[in-house]
């Protein structure tokens, strides 16, 4: 239990997807114009993340790892399917994204319209694939830890995009030099925000 809490706190603050790894920047920069839509996208990412990461973990453990298929029988003991991991991860993520898209379209058409192309693009959001790949690389021990990593990394991403959106809403009336308007100033704000997030670097849990 304590391990799960540690992983959650770590993935939200210390290993934040945006401020520590700069993953998932495209939709982070593009959809962060208003707080409302960014909360929607953040929630969608959290949802996709908490489903895909554990599902991918199970696929890795019971299908792809060297010797993972041994439950099928003695003759499958030496089978190593880990070269398939990228494809399988992406397939899971795409399927989940499709599901989320259908749910949002049904229940919140206004959010569906404001997210536009970025909703299907969650499928290629680096933060989502990154979540599954970090899960593989860090060798989490059980499904609980994987679940808390998925939830934490999604939550950290959502927190980042919502705080950026609030800053950008505040900056709406700023007198920003013309060449930096829009994306330029957003990059600088992101840089300054990750400077502030450096306060968590070095904490060992």
């Amino acid at each position: 239990m304590q391990e799960m809490i540690n992983i959650f706190v770590k993935s939200v603050f210390i290993d934040n997807m945006i401020f520590a790894f700069f993953l998932g920047m495209c939709s982070f920069l593009a959809v962060s114009k208003t707080v409302k839509t960014s909360i929607g996208l953040g929630a969608a990412v959290i949802f996709v993340q908490i489903i895909t990461v554990p599902v991918n973990y199970l696929l890795l453990e019971y299908v792809m790892k060297p010797g993972a298929l041994s439950w099928l029988g003695e003759s499958f003991k030496d089978v190593d399917l880990s070269f398939l991991s990228f494809m399988i991860y992406i397939a899971t993520i795409a399927a989940m994204t499709q599901l989320v898209e259908m749910v949002i379209e049904k229940f919140s058409p206004s959010l569906y319209n404001s997210l536009g192309i970025f909703l299907p693009l969650i499928a290629v959001n680096c933060a989502i694939l990154g979540g599954s790949l970090f899960m593989e690389q860090r060798e989490y021990e059980n499904i609980g830890q994987v679940l808390s990593w998925g939830l934490g990394s999604g939550f950290g991403w959502a927190l980042a995009i919502v705080s950026l959106a609030a800053v950008r809403e505040k900056m709406k009336y700023n007198h920003i030099p013309a060449p930096l308007k829009g994306i330029g100033i957003t990059f600088i704000v992101t840089g300054l925000m990750s400077l502030a997030f450096m306060s968590f670097m070095g904490i060992t849990l």
Binding site: V35, V162, S163, A166, V167, E169, K170, M171, N174, H175, I176, P177, L180, I185, I188, V189, L192, M193, L195, A196, F197, M198, S199, F200, M201, G202, I203, T204
Partner: protein, 387 residues
């Protein structure tokens, strides 16, 4: 005085539209408003006429900083005397420190105001007084041994990337002085932390036996909870540290000035203290290691907490604008300070990063406070309508 006024009036047309020095108009305007109260008033929209303009606000903050500044100068001399066993009189200590502090101060002002003036000319707006305070804050929150070129670089970074590209004074999202300090802290860590940087002359010369230049924070971070400075030393400020942060008494005088004139928000100051005390007490209750057992009130006296809480957390631009938001903001600053100090071995002090972090979140706090107000009022409206 009269002749000065006449001289300015005579030369004014040169700087106005179509004049010879049209490009330098805002520089001229800055000096004119610095010397005389401007007599032009806003012509459109609704405005409240008030004697307290930006210039006066800034001057009051500068006045509130003076006790900390004067004590800081004296403490530079005093600590130097302690380290090398030199006896000086009270004024001797003060002037020793003053001459060491002055170059930092001048560099900060020249670089910062230079950029401010240049960008005002380029972009054709007025020169704002915001840098008057930032320019004093920056040398007060760095170690006395900071090389001048580093300071110049940090000031340039902070003023350009922290303020000017956001549109100048009043538009920045993070405290400019703290961006300068964070820049120094991450770019030149060896010059910004350690035992040697806080006392003038210590890096080049060996101190007398038994003298350690470590700040109370550094001692705590290294796990030495014995031999700590006494409470009165901590309160009065006879400890090594950044120039302005050591004396809590001088900072309290400044806080009194700010609160009396109503420039700083008492809600933020009070809630930061509450934040530190509550998280400090929580740590004491568990006390898993020696640092967690340090009394909660101790956190109020060590490091830059007091200075940051009075002069930086209360910055009206980067703090939340809603009243309830101020309570949340202050409390979270206090909480993060203790958490970073106690749980993050990488940084002995957490005040700078705690304030920067909450600066990032203050628009978000505002957003949610406003949303909750809207919801609350809608509900009340509906109840009234149905009744």
């Amino acid at each position: 005085m009269n002749s000065l006024r006449k001289y300015i009036d005579k030369n004014k047309p040169l700087f106005q539209k179509g004049g010879k020095f049209e490009k330098l108009g805002s520089t001229f305007g800055a000096f004119e408003t610095f010397l005389f109260t401007p007599n032009h008033t806003a012509k459109s929209g609704s405005h409240i006429h008030d004697v307290i303009d930006l210039k006066r606000t800034m001057i009051v903050v500068v006045l509130a900083l003076l006790p900390a500044l004067l004590f800081g100068c004296w403490n530079v001399g005093y600590q130097n005397g302690l380290a090398f066993g030199i006896e000086r009189s009270l004024l001797g200590h003060f002037f020793f420190g003053f001459w060491k502090f002055l170059p930092l101060f001048i560099v900060s002002y020249v670089v910062g105001l230079g950029i401010e003036f240049a960008s005002a000319q380029i972009r054709g707006h007025e020169v704002n007084e915001g840098y008057l305070v930032t320019g004093i804050l920056i040398p007060l929150i760095i170690p006395i041994n900071t090389p001048l070129w580093m300071l110049a670089l940090a000031v340039a970074f902070a003023v350009i990337f922290g303020k000017e590209i956001f549109g100048g004074t009043g538009y920045n999202i993070m405290n400019v002085a703290l961006i300068a300090r964070a820049f120094l802290f991450f770019a030149y860590p060896s010059e910004m932390s350690g035992d040697k940087v806080w006392i003038y002359g210590l890096p080049d010369q060996a101190a007398i036996d038994g003298f350690s230049g470590a700040t109370p924070l550094a001692q705590l971070a290294q796990g030495a909870t014995q031999n700590m400075a006494s409470m009165s030393d901590l309160f009065m400020g006879f400890i090594p540290g950044s120039i302005g942060e050591t004396s809590k008494l001088a900072i309290l005088i400044g806080a009194a000035i700010l609160l009396f004139t109503g420039i700083a928000s008492w809600k933020i100051m009070l809630s930061t203290v509450i934040g530190v005390l509550s998280i400090g007490l929580l740590c004491n209750a568990f006390a898993l290691n020696e640092y967690m057992a340090v009394p909660a009130y101790y956190h109020l006296l060590i490091g830059g907490f007091a200075f940051g809480a009075v002069f930086m957390a209360t910055d009206p631009v980067t703090a939340p604008h809603t009243e309830r938001g101020k309570w949340i903001y202050g409390f979270m600053i206090g909480a993060f300070v203790v958490l970073i100090r106690v749980f993050n071995p990488a940084y002995p002090e957490g005040m700078m990063l705690a304030i920067l972090l909450m600066n990032v979140w203050s628009p978000l706090i505002d957003y949610f406070v406003v949303q909750s107000h809207i919801k609350h009022r809608q509900k009340r409206f509906l109840v009234k309508k149905n009744a």
